[in-house]
Symmetry: C2
Subunit: 480 residues, 2 copies
């Protein structure tokens, strides 16, 4: 429903004339995020500070207009899609790093700061920000906090919630609060704990205080080939079972390795059934000792063609291949559909075999590139949207893959959130009673359901739509 | 208000005749926890399983009777005190370790399992449970989860919330839910995040799934003397500033060292102004390298008389001195009053100097023994309760110390919770608006305020009492 002229005028008064977008063609720019669905917002507001965020939300509350906070739009679960219309609250103009405290090892940032920029800014102090989504060149710290994002190095360092010490947030009534999640003063009820990862359904985030870590003095990065996904999975379990938690432990299957090697020439072994990328960090003696132990375990599990990066440039190249893997898959098909279910590590061979069979059944190529150490899958279903028939097949295959994950005792998402795309599957994991408790917390903080409606919680109406009815939108190739 | 015969009868029907205590003399056993205040409950229920917990809570809900879940009663903030009467829900009969999964490195336990018993049970699998409150020989995992407890090794390993993967909880309506806080499937709203540390105000905890860690292959423990608290504090900042996070980094002042040495003969240097106990763990090369670096930093900061434990027995003795320090202080005065404010590490010299001055002003001896690496103070105000005049002085001195902490940008509690004793100080940290948001979450999950009333949130009536009016209770010496 288009906003009235008077509401638009109010928005322009608080955010500035040039910071409110309502022209239909411009609105389409914000139609989607990195997921498969889209919807055009009624307006876009681009606030520059907390006061403007609070004022915009107050206007929305007064007129009962949905508000959808939004970062760089790299999310993979439809969290930033304005499925019920309303105002997209685009936070990327709030992109100042307000403080880096090298002694306390913290940073205070605005939500629009790009993930990688924070680590670059902290580097002169020999510090870095640990959570590193593969989209880190584009995604924002605010979006990361809203989605509780992960990344390859979260195996050792933990996900975003483990690094957020506090946040300034604006609630659905426009009130501004500081919530602290610092273990050192997590007193009273830990609201920060429930607001991180609430996917824009409980608050808009306007400032984030994060922990910075010392850049490790020594980093060792190893690529190893395996005859099959099964043997590589066994090696993953064996490494962790030996009591070693590497900084990162990533797997790529044969399809992915082929695409990556063609694109990056990083020296990935294209004959392998799967490769592992393993990284350890710490003091030099310790990384040498750990890497030697890891090489032994990998060898015992049929690992071969092991290659350790000898220079920082070689390390960067190995990682560029991993972090750019999904982009490289564009060589095979222009579009992909990606879920990020999690299984216990011991179930990796089973679930990957199920994923493979589902791909064969639907005649859809599937490429696996994922956080093996966490048991966090990323099966990429590859397709070409120009074949309009294929989309329903893709969604059904994705749903079957997630179902296989849940049947093996897994969870719907490791780091991409529930958003729009997985909300219908929440009842696979949660009883109606459990969901009701969650919705009581939602109602306590957002009684009218203003903030990011239609996300996380299953929508009874939406569920009744046939899958095909959900997909009238164009899907573009994504580069991250 | 005594419960009616019919309510008591109902309780006995669900929990068993012998598992409901109402005899006045027996009730007094549960009058207090490890804090300074007490109140006699109207009844004690000792449930054996989740169904009984749910049934007891449903009876309480029907009759609007307060419910106060309770573990071993070692808490230091009055969290388990039935200040509004009602039913003390004593969880210590639910003390089974239900599962230890050595591959997944997790344990599923009932809430009454004693902290140290879990590590002992996990030891044959070379695993341990990291959070280690000094009361770990007595305190329970359920109490730890309710209070988000810390301990010396939480500097490196994090507090309880970082180790809880999921919980079975009973809400105020008697409904039973599983909430997951596992980073691997923290999907939807992170209710586990807000329930851990909610101090019995949101739920009773009936099962806890925790992460177990590999016992490090090598542990190095060092005791170092310093001329003063100031120099020791500077050494603490210097170690962390060098990018080293030891597994534990504890400080004891001269008063404490004297008492500990008289009691344990652990070889603590009694001439020192302060001592640090530093521990690092990992693979052998790494601990050697780290400990060498730490020794250098300590030396540069006037550390002397450094002594590294050469055998596990020596290490145990050094730790016995630290963990038994508060008990040893009984040699000086029979009673103590203890707050656990937290300051930024860089503020340690300032806050300790303020604490000292407050002690002098009130003519009360103060012994400091605390988690220096975290900036988490534990000033023990020592007194003799037989001198009834002194108690008001003690509480006022404690309040002034906490005020000094907050003035230096610190927080009310690092690991002991807010409970009863610090609830009146919550407005020092939180605005009325902030507290109102917290109370909205409380109301969403416990609309009638049944669970542990009078805790965390400041009680306007209570605040008006003069300090002296709050203290009509006996205080016993505590041993942990």
């Amino acid at each position: 429903m288009p906003l009235t002229a008077s509401v638009i005028d109010d928005l322009k008064k608080v955010a500035g004339r040039d910071n409110v977008i309502t022209a239909p063609n411009d609105l389409r720019i914000f139609e989607r995020d990195g997921s498969i669905e889209g919807a055009v917002p009624d307006a876009i507001a681009l606030p520059s500070n907390t006061e403007q965020v609070a004022a915009v939300i107050k206007i929305a509350a007064r007129h009962n207009i949905p508000i959808v906070p939004r970062g760089a739009g790299t999310g993979l679960s439809g969290g930033a899609v304005t499925i019920r219309g309303g105002i997209a609250l685009q936070m990327t103009r709030m992109r100042r790093i307000l403080e880096i405290d090298p002694v306390g090892q913290t940073a205070l940032v605005e939500p629009g700061v790009v993930n990688q920029e924070l680590s670059l800014a902290a580097a002169p102090h020999h510090l870095f920000y640990a959570p590193d989504p593969s989209s880190q060149k584009a995604c924002t710290i605010g979006g990361n906090a809203a989605e509780n994002s992960g990344g390859p190095h979260c195996l050792y360092y933990g996900v975003t919630t483990n690094h957020v010490l506090g946040m300034e947030v604006v609630l659905a009534d426009g009130s501004v609060h500081w919530v602290s999640g610092d273990a050192a003063d997590r007193i009273g009820l830990d609201l920060c704990g429930v607001l991180v990862g609430s996917e824009g359904t409980l608050c808009a985030i306007t400032k984030i205080k994060v922990r910075l870590l010392r850049i490790p003095p020594s980093i060792a990065t190893l690529l190893a080939a395996f005859p099959s996904i099964d043997t590589a999975s066994q090696a993953v379990s064996a490494v962790i079972g030996r009591g070693i938690v590497p900084a990162a432990l990533e797997m790529m299957d044969k399809v992915t390795v082929g695409a990556v090697e063609a694109h990056y020439h990083a020296g990935y072994p294209t004959d392998a059934g799967a490769v592992l990328l393993v990284e350890v960090d710490g003091v030099a003696d310790s990384t040498r000792e750990l890497m030697a132990a890891i090489r032994d375990v990998l060898s015992e599990n049929q690992g071969y063609a092991m290659r350790e990066a000898q220079t920082p440039a070689e390390r960067d190249l190995l990682w560029a291949g991993r972090k750019g893997a999904i982009g490289a898959l564009g060589r095979i098909k222009p579009n992909y559909y990606l879920h990020d279910g999690v299984v216990p590590r011991s179930k990796l061979p089973q679930v990957l075999s199920a994923v493979g069979e589902i791909g064969v059944h639907y005649k859809l190529p599937v490429a696996n590139v994922f956080h093996a150490g966490d048991g966090n899958l990323h099966p990429n279903i590859l397709f070409d949207l120009r074949d309009r028939e294929v989309l329903q097949q893709v969604e059904e295959a994705g749903e079957e893959m997630l179902h296989a994950v849940v049947e093996l005792g897994g969870a719907l998402s490791g780091e991409h959130g529930i958003g729009l795309e997985k909300s219908a599957y929440m009842p696979w994991i949660f009883s109606p009673d459990d969901l009701e408790v969650m919705s009581r917390v939602k109602s306590a903080l957002d009684p009218t359901g203003l903030l990011n409606p239609g996300k996380i919680f299953p929508d009874p109406e939406r569920k009744k739509l046939p899958l095909a009815g959900r997909t009238g939108f164009a899907v573009e190739a994504k580069w991250w």
